[in-house]
Amino acid sequence: MVQTTPLWEVFIRPRNGLAHKHAGSIHAADEVLALQAARDVYTRRGEGTSIWVVRSADIVASDPDQAAENFEPTADKIYRHPTFYDIPDDVGHM
């Protein structure tokens, strides 16, 4: 039987103060090897100070076919944006 080596998603914090950001994926048998492989593949030139690895199979994603119902309602709620409210210039910056 051919066993397949699990896939992991790699997230890297470029430097402290910034959030971890998705960089790509790698294959590794376990989390220890996954971290090592992620370091070798994604941080050869000081790209990061911290790495997260997550099994790709454990990621739950929203369905792109439902993107309209999930995300479009925000576009017509313009009253959620500061520019919806008229404030006279005399008041100063607000």
């Binding site: 066993q3 080596t5 090897l33 593949v41 050869r44 076919d65």
Partner: protein, 327 residues
């Protein structure tokens, strides 16, 4: 290192007119396509094939240069070559991971490379005969790769474009270390200069063939352009590469082995002599001098690594079982 004009792709697709029109409208609006988005089967297949070929090229591309690591003439050159070859391995992995987002597995892609079903760039089926080849490869082969890859950073498929941005950042070091190596030989002893001229003579034509067949003979280009997988035609990229390279060769005092190469004022670029496409197709079809060795080396690496992969998985399972028992 490199992506060639796609060899043998097939952009045919069978979805409804309406679906295809909606997809094309997204592409035309410069929207990126992401992994779970609906996409025509032809688009997916073309990308799987192109990204796969590209990934295989990076991996096989480690072999011709790996051949010289132990014989590098100084620690500085050895460190640079080692870092470059390691980068190419990394490029292969970024690209495999981009292809995997399209539903093809790493195992399937590896299998296709080892069985000879998948192609890789034919440039790597030429032998690296002298140390000067390390300079010429960095300068010309990575240089041609950069020309091909920069437009791919704007490819319509998000994961491929992102992988290419990462790759392009690293390629510049590859080309510069190669050109610097060529400088040290070209400005060195007469023997060194002759060695780098010989390497240039051998690599020039294969390098300009890296852009693939002429536009008139490249059937898959139109669909790839419409889908914005490709942004420039093979001939446009080849022209840019030649125009950039001629002055670099002049600076080195080396001669490009094409007697018909001359400046064309009207088009603002260089004209070049006829390319031997029969050689190109021979090499693509696996008759390059090193084709058998390359696949043999990949097979050997894969087979000899089998026990490591199995041991790592067995160890992971054991740890998992121990953890479950403790909970």
């Amino acid at each position: 290192m490199y992506s060639q004009g796609l060899i043998g792709a097939d952009g045919r697709t069978t979805e409804s007119e309406e679906f295809l029109a909606r997809f094309q409208a997204r592409i035309d609006a410069e929207e990126k396509i992401e992994p779970n988005d609906a996409m025509p089967e032809g688009y997916r297949r073309t990308l799987v094939r192109q990204i796969g070929q590209h990934a295989h090229s990076e991996i096989v591309g480690m072999l011709p240069e790996g051949n010289w690591i132990t014989r590098a003439p100084s620690l500085r050159r050895k460190a640079a070559l080692l870092a470059k070859v390691q980068d190419e391995g990394g490029h292969g992995l970024y690209l495999y991971c981009a292809a995997e987002t399209l539903g093809v597995s790493r195992e399937e892609m590896t299998e296709e490379l080892l069985s000879g079903k998948a192609k890789y760039s034919s440039i790597f089926n030429y032998p690296t005969l002298s140390w000067a080849d390390m300079g010429i490869i960095g300068w010309l082969v990575d240089g041609a790769a950069i020309m091909n890859q920069i437009p791919l950073c704007r490819c319509s498929y998000g994961p491929y474009a992102r992988a290419m941005i990462r790759v392009c950042k690293e390629e510049s070091f590859h080309q510069r270390q190669g050109y610097e190596l060529c400088m040290s030989l070209a400005f060195g002893t007469p023997e060194q200069k002759a060695m780098v001229q010989d390497a240039l003579n051998r690599w020039w034509w294969p390098s300009i063939m890296m852009f693939g067949p002429h536009d008139a003979d490249s059937q898959n280009s139109d669909q790839s352009m419409a889908w914005k997988i490709k942004r420039f035609s093979n001939d446009e990229l080849r022209q840019k590469f030649i125009d950039a390279t001629v002055p670099q060769a002049e600076y080195l005092g080396l001669t490009l082995p094409d007697p018909d190469l001359k400046w064309n004022e009207a088009k603002g670029g260089y004209d070049h002599g006829p390319i031997d496409w029969s050689e190109f197709w021979r090499v693509v079809k696996g008759q390059g001098p090193m084709a058998r060795d390359r696949i043999k080396a990949r097979k050997k690496a894969w087979d000899e690594g089998a026990w490591v992969r199995e041991a790592a998985l067995a160890h992971a399972e054991k740890r998992q079982a121990r953890k479950m028992a403790a909970e």
